[in-house]
Point group: C2
Chain length 163, copies 2
């Protein structure tokens, strides 16, 4: 799956795209496992809290863009040539996966807030590392960074309002 020569085209680029989509939706599935149930319904919420039905479609779009972005970078020589940007991408994906069990699973809203701040920083670092490789890939992550910034403010507000 990797090649050490960055000018060589990867052998099976569309198979790799499927791989990136699978990996991103595996992280997404961590979120799908915890339905916002009674606990979430019972939280004090700010007036600007989006309705629950917004989150599914938004995250689906963001995970799809994320997968395409990673694939665009991976196409430029695979893991051998793009080790650092792809490693940053995978770190942010793991941090993304950890947030839902912390917030919706364990109800550790304070820990989840600390974690989402790390996630925001990891996404920003990933965008910075993607930019010289593929500007399109970097731009594909900007809506995600914006949304996670908003989610972090929301997480902070829910934490403070309910503790």
């Amino acid at each position: 799956m990797t090649t050490s020569n960055p000018t060589t085209r990867a052998p099976r680029p569309y198979l790799a795209l499927a791989g990136w989509v699978l990996l991103c939706f595996a992280a997404a599935s961590f979120g799908g496992l915890f339905m916002p149930g009674e606990w979430y319904a019972g939280l004090k919420k700010p007036s600007w809290n989006p309705p629950a039905r917004v989150f599914g479609p938004v995250w689906t779009a963001l995970y799809t863009m994320m997968a395409v972005a990673a694939w665009l970078v991976w196409k430029r020589g695979g893991f051998a040539a793009q080790r650092r940007p792809l490693a940053l991408f995978l770190v942010q994906l793991a941090l993304n996966a950890a947030w839902t069990p912390l917030f919706f699973g364990l109800h550790w809203t304070g820990v989840a807030f600390a974690e989402i701040v790390l996630l925001w920083l990891a996404i920003a670092a990933t965008i910075a590392a993607f930019r010289p490789v593929s500007r399109v890939a970097a731009w594909l992550l900007v809506p995600y960074l914006t949304w996670v910034g908003f989610a972090a403010v929301l997480n902070f507000t829910l934490w403070r309002l309910n503790s």
Copy 2:
């Protein structure tokens, strides 16, 4: 996929087992993406560093046991009844996925050490939460806890020897 009645058997338990296996091997794939290459070969190593070929089979066995353990707990009423133990399990799985890109991808051996200590604690908490639900599930994670303890000592040693 979830049921609120812990005495009811889940409708499709073997499909769920496949789901847990997929989820655990998605985390495992983070590790497979980074081959220990020149950088790892060039590190100063302690005399007791296991040969590289040991890690693949060991991790395959550990991820399989992990998936079975989570499934055994999930069978007792799904996410509704086992929210906390399964959330802890998913947190440790995400921390597990983050370690390889930190260590082999970014070569951040110090950060990776801090992260693997958190992973060890999360596994220990998962075992404690699994124990009252299924003793077998708890025991299935003990080799994993032991191996991660050893990996943490190895990570610490490689960090100190090479900085």
